[in-house]
Subunit: 959 residues, 2 copies
């Protein structure tokens, strides 16, 4: 059942998805543990008889691709019911209307010369005939099928139902569009009591033969006779219990024989008839089951709901099976046409002699590197090298292939685009351009933009990490790798780092009070919080390695120790964290620094040529600003000013400002903050010289700056010369039930205009200071959290007054052209953008908060239910990581439309976390934004993603 549901889902998604090939990787569920990003090894990927499930979307993609590649001679013969593939191949990939997606694909693979196990496909039209005739197969169909079987027997040199060396086949459904409720695969069809015996003898592998047979009985019982699979599973459990084993693989051959008998008994009992021993009877029943499944309730309702029309039925493909465990002249292997780790153009893989894929999965035997294949079978080796060339020429992509050698004969079981590391993606793309296999644009589309981060950050040395003592796995919150000694509070981290120690900040979760500690730490590890927790967001912004939400770790801050798996780690126990995998490792692991290849620079050049979206960065310090410039940022889209107030020297003045109960005291405290702010801005303007810098005025609720712990409260009370009780009361008063929806953003500026005045003054004074040193400063003032046009009108006027005042004070004759705009992050702002735009020079979409308010999800609390939501596929992915097009995206679209109506010259950007997510960048391009802004380390990703979006959009244009 679970399997079917999953299947259903995949298919539904598939039919909704844009059928264009996208460079994005298959969606990985956020929150789920990420697989180590080392080069995919061939290990654990070898199958033989087992079908490797292929996302059903592929059929559709391929079909569309075929359509695009222009007219090809169709070989559709009217009235023809069966198309063979093998020695003689009668179809190609253009014929999915006739042969279904799978059938057309098998025909295509065969037709380009791959040695695919031969078979044939019964057409979609036959299925339609079957139903039109009241579930009656056309009179001569089984005769034609028998003829095809004869052809297969000839090609494979063995007979269907042969007692000694039987021909076995698989039977699969396959419409032009995949859909849930359709029949699954039946494997090993053709086996019966006798031929199972024969197969055991011929392969010398009794376990294999009876395992194949018992699987056939169960699959056949399930999909053809509708006997629930669990009846068969219960028998397996019974047998295992009988032999006192717990793993399927430990059941001896004898047990599998017994299981076949018991399965046949279940079959008889549940279906009222014996398991059919005649292969042709099995085959006819299977074909009927395929056709019947077209009209299953599930399939019918799927077509109704999804509006699938114009498809008459499903095709049915019958393919001969091959086995790699039929002797020492047989084997099985997996390979990549290029090195998936480095991208080097070399043949890369592993193989096993006299083995089925399962043997590899079971880990019983160690595969041999593909380089040794030549010594074993020179012909097969040469043939594979030829296939590599053919495939790459045909698919123009690096391929990941599975093959089986049966009695010296090579068969291709599977070929698909190979997964690769970011570095390999860059190299393969550039190499293929050089080899004139693909164009520059195609090369850009081939590189998963998100994988570029891997090229920019240090990572653990593969050799060094082998056999690492992995303590726990959290979320890969911010890539990179670091080793250090645990520090349990921010101040401890600061002290020890200043003393020269390399520390990892280990916290349950972090808050703005921790930023200093985070800044000095080599990495950050938290035990709670998700991919968009404070720790994750801040760390990503800095390109600092972070593992978040490692729930197995229990932190005892008081005693300076964390527990994991019964072991304790204190301040002197070196640990390592891998922000790309989420792993927490005991002890040190050597890291390697990235070297940016010439190919990387080439890809970036190409990207800049094609993209139309600007790319800015989110940076709060000169260091970040410089780094982002070096990565190609064209300005700063978001400078948060709140982090600037946590410095030890400033937080005191900040707190006094907050705790002041009158304007005069507030202004005096603000006066002390002014020089710091001015210096902050001078630093950033200098780093970005000439490029625009968007500065967001103070945003978080004021209580975030207040101390909550008793010590800190008392210290503050002493320094302010008041009673600790006074401070505590004020802290309590400032507390809010829902701070996310509270007194923050521009609402602070409305209540305390003097805060805005100080910040604007600091900006203007900094710009004028820079001008005096002939550094061009281009500040843009961003007023956050506007929801009502009048907020912006009033605050803009206030800011303009301060700008004018400072200009006069400084006697500057220059006109200060400082743009003033707002973040669009409140749903009301999105739907009233036309009004708001009249007062704004720019909008920047703050999609983090916009996502919170559009969904009504608190980012701090959402992990209570979001994992369930993603697991149940209520929402396809974490909307804080990749923009929710239907909801949040719709808000942005409404706002873009309104904004441009209200102010045709308005500049539109995005500065939420989404600005560095490739799918979201694509959305931004489509929505017509002017730029995206993201953390420094994601700038190259955004540049590439922007280029991909532009190329895809142009491709999609009509004509």
């Amino acid at each position: 059942m679970a399997k079917k549901r999953a299947g259903k889902k995949t298919t539904r998604k598939a039919s909704k998805r844009t059928p264009k090939k996208t460079p994005t990787k298959p969606a990985r569920k956020p929150g789920s543990k990420k697989v180590t990003r080392k080069a995919p090894s061939a290990r654990g990927k070898m199958h033989t008889g087992k079908s490797r499930r292929r996302p059903t979307v592929k059929a559709t993609s391929r079909k569309k691709a075929a359509r695009k590649s222009g007219p090809r001679p169709k070989r559709v013969v009217p009235g023809k019911r069966i198309y063979a593939f093998g020695k003689k191949t009668e179809g190609d990939r253009s014929m999915s209307d006739v042969l279904g997606g799978k059938g057309a694909n098998l025909a295509e693979m065969t037709s380009i010369g791959l040695p695919v196990p031969p078979g044939f496909t019964i057409t979609v039209g036959t299925c339609a005939e079957y139903h039109a005739a009241g579930r009656k197969l056309p009179a001569d169909l089984m005769k034609q099928v028998a003829d095809q079987i004869v052809s297969l027997e000839k090609q494979r040199g063995r007979a269907f139902g042969d007692a000694g060396d039987p021909l076995l086949v698989s039977v699969r459904s396959g419409a032009a569009v995949s859909m849930p409720g359709m029949m699954d695969t039946i494997l090993n069809l053709g086996l019966n009591d006798k031929s199972a015996e024969g197969l055991a003898e011929r392969t010398g592998n009794e376990r294999f033969a009876y395992d194949a047979y018992r699987r056939l009985i169960a699959m056949f019982g399930d999909v053809v006779m509708g006997i629930d699979m669990h009846h068969f599973e219960r028998e397996l459990d019974g047998v295992k219990a009988g032999y006192g084993v717990s793993l399927d693989t430990d059941v001896p051959a004898e047990g599998l024989r017994e299981l076949c008998e018991r399965s046949k008994a279940v079959f008889r009992e549940r279906s009222g008839r014996a398991f059919p021993q005649k292969p042709m009877v099995q085959l006819e029943m299977a074909i009927r089951a395929v056709f019947d499944s077209w009209m299953s309730d599930k399939a019918v309702s799927f077509r109704r709901i999804e509006g699938v029309t114009g498809i008459d039925g499903t095709a049915c493909s019958v393919q001969s099976m091959v086995f790699g465990n039929t002797g020492d002249d047989s084997g099985t292997g997996v390979a990549f046409t290029r090195d998936p780790s480095t991208g080097e153009n070399t043949f890369f893989g592993e193989f096993l002699i006299n083995a089925q894929g399962e043997d590899v999965v079971a880990g019983v035997r160690t595969p041999r590197p593909i380089s040794e294949l030549k010594a074993w079978n020179k012909g097969v080796h040469a043939q594979l090298l030829g296939i590599k060339r053919t495939l790459e020429r045909h698919t123009r992509e690096m391929q990941d292939i599975e093959f089986t050698v049966e009695r010296g004969e090579l068969f291709m079981l599977q070929t698909r685009t190979g997964k690769r590391t970011g570095a390999a993606a860059v190299r393969v793309a550039c190499d293929m351009v050089r080899e004139k296999l693909i164009t520059e644009k195609e090369a850009l589309l081939r590189i998963p933009a998100g994988d570029l981060t891997q090229l920019l950050l240090p990572r653990f040395d593969d050799a060094a990490r082998a056999g690492a003592d992995v303590l726990a796995t959290g979320l890969p919150a911010s890539p990179g790798a670091a080793s250090g000694f645990p520090a349990f509070t921010a101040s401890e981290a600061v002290d020890r780092a200043h003393a020269g120690e390399k520390v990892i900040l280990v916290r349950r979760e972090t808050s703005p009070e921790d930023v200093d500690g985070m800044h000095v730490a080599a990495g950050v590890l938290t035990s709670t919080g998700g991919m968009t927790s404070h720790a994750a967001v801040v760390a990503r912004g800095w390109g600092k390695c972070c593992v978040a939400g490692a729930g197995d770790i229990h932190i005892d801050e008081h005693n300076g120790v964390f527990m994991v798996g019964g072991r304790a780690f204190g301040r002197t126990d070196l640990i390592s964290i891998d922000g790309s995998t989420g792993e927490v490792i005991a002890g040190p692991v050597a890291t390697v620094e990235p070297e940016l290849s010439g190919d990387f620079a080439r890809v970036m050049r190409w990207a800049d040529k094609h993209r139309t979206l600007g790319v800015r960065t989110n940076a709060d310090t000169p260091r970040d600003a410089e780094r982002a410039r070096s990565f190609g940022a064209e300005g700063i889209g978001l400078t948060r000013t709140e982090h600037m107030f946590f410095d030890a020297e400033r937080i005191g003045a900040m707190r006094e400002m907050i705790l002041a109960d009158n304007r005069v005291d507030r202004e005096s405290a603000l006066g002390r903050l002014l020089p710091y702010q001015r210096a902050d801005f001078v630093g950033i303007f200098t780093a970005m010289k000439g490029l625009p810098v968007t500065i967001r005025l103070l945003d978080p609720p004021l209580h975030e700056f207040l101390p909550h712990e008793d010590d800190a409260v008392e210290e503050l009370a002493r320094s302010m010369g008041v009673d600790a009780g006074v401070i505590r009361r004020r802290v309590t008063m400032l507390g809010e039930s829902n701070p996310m929806l509270g007194h923050r953003g521009c609402r602070l500026a409305v209540t305390y205009p003097e805060i805005l005045a100080m910040q604007v003054r600091a900006i203007v004074e900094a710009a004028l200071d820079c001008a005096e040193q002939r550094i061009r400063a281009v500040p843009e003032i961003m007023i956050p959290l506007v929801g009502v046009d009048e907020e912006l009108a009033i605050l803009r006027a206030q800011a303009e007054r301060v700008i004018e005042q400072v200009r006069k004070e400084r006697g500057s004759r220059r006109r200060l052209d400082i743009k003033i705009g707002t973040m669009i992050e409140v749903p009301r702002a999105a739907v009233t953008s036309e009004q708001i735009a009249r007062h704004a020079d720019f909008f920047s979409y703050g999609t983090n908060d916009l996502t919170q308010m559009t969904f009504g999800y608190s980012r701090d609390d959402v992990n209570r239910f979001l994992p369930d939501y993603i697991a149940h596929e209520i929402i396809p992915r974490d909307p804080f990581q990749s923009i929710d097009r239907a909801g949040v995206g719709e808000m942005v679209r409404l706002s873009v439309e309104g904004g441009r109506l209200g102010n045709p010259g308005i500049k539109l950007g995005i500065c939420g976390e989404h600005g560095g997510d490739p799918a979201s960048v694509r959305f931004c391009h489509e929505a017509g934004l002017d730029y995206v802004s993201c953390s420094p380390f994601r700038v190259p990703i955004a540049r590439l993603a922007a280029a991909q979006a532009a190329i895809l959009a142009r491709t999609a244009e009509p004509g």
Copy 2:
């Protein structure tokens, strides 16, 4: 400056506002202290010389109204520059293009026979000529003006500039549309050194004469010469200091004489010329100033921004002034044409002999009732009765008039629609229909729907409350009146109420844990929280009197006492609260129960005839349901199920359910809750027999049900047989940073499907139980907080399974037609309504939460800044009280559009607090909803408001 800004605002709003007459009262700022709703008294409303500022929108309205009333003979004479009003009247209200709004109005009032002080209006065209000629008055204009002055002198029997008995005039600007930057009024024009002396002598009131003179000098200096008003104010301060007085009214006549001299000195110094002594010079300068103000920067930019075109200039009205303090044959008064308190058709008002309006404002003398007027001046009395008839026939409305008698001659200074109580509104409207003055539809439009509440609730006896000891004033959170003894906790309230005591629950704020106590209390008083706080919402729902946010009250729950103004009130100190005024009063006050008049029933009948919107109620108990039915509710639009779990018997099981860490324990606790829930629903279905009942499944975050105080935690721990620490940990774990955006609503049902299953089972079993007793039950299941279509799809399927299962269990052959729908309260749901509607039989707009999330305002925290926002006019009113059309309304419109696309048969309603707010009901009508749902006591309001909306919409239809 402040005044001008306010003026600007009014006007901008005005020009945007729909110019139709609406029955709503002038917007009162929510959150501001509400004025006592007793019948408006004539006290403090008397003016004479002082112009009563009229919202500038009136001019526009009247103009449009004039246009609507069809063609009237225009008396526009080409080339004519001056139109008189008085003995001979040359214009009417249709001529605002020529005479400006004010001029046309004065002409109209005169032309229907009102004794308006005579005057004349210089045309808009003259202003255009003036500017076309380069700011030159037409050659003979001042000659014509002089002729008019002569006419005025004749009519008033005194001469312009006469030293003994001077004719004085006012000069005002007046375009067809009012705009900021235009000249304000100049009063007392014509006074000079000599005539001031004469006026003093003739009136025997030196203070009056010199006060009038010094005001003329200052006004003239300000608006004609551009001398900033503060220069004159400084002189006044100087004089006051000289006499050692602090109030203007304490300055003796001598001081005012001195002030005139000092003001003239300022005038000379600042303008370089002496204050003009010749009245005709004053007049010409004033006319020029009026014309010049048309081209002031402000006025020009206002016209540009607002796109005012097609108006050539401003008119200038010159009107003779009258004085009621010229002897014992003079006087001044204020009256209503009907009793504003009861609506009785009688003449009602007060007057003062030999007095100016200012005398009344100063409170020096006590006015006499209008009934004594006849004895003083029979002729004037008869004339006023005639004017009452004329005015009511002409305006077809009850009028509020101001008059002055100067030397026995009656002058009308002002007439406008009179304010009245809800009861009076109903009676006047019905009476006027009987008198055939207005139609039924007009009658419906005349009654401010919101005022109907006054008719339904007990109120304090006016006599009894006179001289009441008002301790504090909070927000009028839920109307009604109650006296009782303070109870400081819910359980205390329950105990004491059960013991027969009448209690007022006094809390800082209330939470769901307090509902029992609220229910038994006679009224609820809180010291924090707004109009939509928990206390306010729950109390309004029950029609229970509540005063919220009485910030002056400091509650010491521990000692059972509250402090206010230095006084302490404990459990034995009787207090009274007035939920219609927000007043908290020491001691008891007698209340009167409302009697519903036949007129009330008549109005409701008329309303039902005209409205198209359905009206349902929000009710959680059979009692509320019955009451709402008696008020005309056509079903229940919202039954909240959460309140049902706070009963002492149930809360235990509820808590065990929440604290269970596995499904089995959860289901067992739910099993114990099931019979209670079923009984709840049987009760409500029985009360509503046959009418639909929309039941919302559990909505609040679970931690709301948990105890937070130590005692309660320990008690729970004992009853559950676990350690208190376990409970505390679980309570902490369930806490959220932003509960508003947390794990609640349908998110609970996704994580704990068994809660939904129990509730649906209870609903279905209750419906079947009712059916057995031949009571028709029409439940509708509402799944709250849906933001993603898939949530509803999954939960709907679950609910349907339970419905089917219960039906089978009970062997019911009936098809249970239970509608399943959702609340639209998350912005994402609004913008993805098309998808969601595919799974919904109905939508109900939960505009409370939708407002929170659309604005990003937490209702619990919003009082930090909302008062500032309303004070600064950033938003016009509390969006939780009246729907925000531009933002939240836009969300609803988007959703209605999408919802009907996704499911053309979908039913749409609203169940937020807005369902009982007249302006919001109108919005709902316009947005095309099917029904509104509101608390029982607001059902009549909603019925009337719905009728008004329908009538207005039909009127607005083209053709």
